[in-house]
Symmetry: D2
């Protein structure tokens, strides 16, 4: 896409530093798996602390890592000195999130000056299997760093 342009060569450091400051990501045991222009992956291994009432990953975990993956995919394309805030997102839970780990991939659909729209997809992965368990659309906004 014409607008999938990197405006800050240090985008990966920016994303990794911001991710490191998110207390929730550490508390969930989430890891930043990859950072590329317009696309970020976050993974979280299964733990009983992350479950809903039937012992599968809670939709809140699925959503938390998808939100962060979308937000950071948007941030990779913003100029230096930018921060990203989530305006809103919507997620459909497609299948039970059962497996050894969840993998969220966020990617930019359209990067505007103020508003960036992202798609997020979450997969529940086990030995030899991967189930597409959620799909997100998120609206992100660029703000000047304080």
């Amino acid at each position: 896409m014409a607008d999938m342009v990197v405006r800050n060569e240090e985008f990966e450091e920016v994303v990794r530093a911001s991710f490191g400051r998110q207390g929730l990501m550490a508390h969930l045991g989430a890891e930043l798996a990859s950072v590329a222009p317009g696309e970020v992956r976050i993974e979280v291994p299964f733990r009983p602390q992350l479950t809903q009432q039937h012992g599968m990953f809670h939709g809140g975990v699925t959503t938390s890592i998808a939100d962060s993956a979308c937000g950071y995919s948007a941030l990779t394309l913003m100029p230096a000195g930018s921060e990203v805030v989530s305006v809103e997102f919507k997620i459909n839970l497609l299948a039970p999130a059962r497996g050894e780990r969840l993998v969220a991939r966020g990617r930019v659909v359209r990067a505007g000056r103020t508003i960036t729209v992202c798609h997020g997809d979450v997969y529940a992965a086990g030995p030899g299997s991967e189930v597409h368990c959620a799909t997100m659309v998120a609206t992100m906004m660029r703000v000047e760093a304080a």
Copy 2:
């Protein structure tokens, strides 16, 4: 509303038992504040483990408790032997979630036989203040308990 009818007198026990099995709610430090027909409140006190990169509550926490509050508000109106799953939800983050605790209120907008639609609202509360920080619309589905 004509359809805001309790079909299971033990709705509160059903909700409390299910909430108690959600590992994530305990991990976040969330508490079930109230359970009424068609309306449930969940609160979570602030902790650094729940933050985004600027030290405020992460949108994932806001969303997790709003999702559970919506789902359980739907469950209060379902017949005995029902369980509830989130089909999808959408949340707008209206203001920074800064405060001593977050309070999510879920309530049923329309209860159908299979599909129940809920509104969720989240407030960031401090000493003498309360800010409306998020609004959710959620689609919940009734399934027969396994």
Copy 3:
């Protein structure tokens, strides 16, 4: 709400002029029923041209008037020289839209400098009845008039 402030005394003229330029509203037979600060109502009488496959109002009609009602409710609170664009919206269709007319009410939930979040509700009205048939959440953005 503290932020439900009128910044342009001519808000009603601005809304009525813009509505008058929307070819689609005339094509659907929609009328601007009321314009108040932070709240706008649009109505559309039933016609066979507005139906889905079962002879009820098509979800696209419900959505079109809810989108316009939300957008114009946001515009009532914007300073002179503003225009409003829809960033995104989400709608739940709660009940069949069967009746003599549809009435959409849009109202502002939070008005920010750039982003305004609105709720929309649509009712299907007949003689002596009114059914809540849809609920919308919409994100609107202020842009400078060209």
Copy 4:
């Protein structure tokens, strides 16, 4: 996908007959461009009756054809005797919808027994250009034909 299975060999006739009964599609001048298993395209040529206040396609038109394209993509995979209703959808308007015609493509992301989740994408097409102007996620429900 394992679940992208045709259960009714007459899926195209079913979709074309239902589309032909939607008064709104005719009123907008929309045409069913293609019907394949799990994917349906609907097009609408530009007319001044379809505009918002700046003379471009109204978001309500974009949404109407995306909703119908998603619903019919879901219907292609349902067993004989099924009808489809929209539970909810969310659309992000990515770019101004300016052009000679709009093309909406709906496709199934996951087909369940009761609930089918679809993605919709809308393009504004002109001579030698095509702009991705909207992206939708929709939740569709199967009901038995009356």
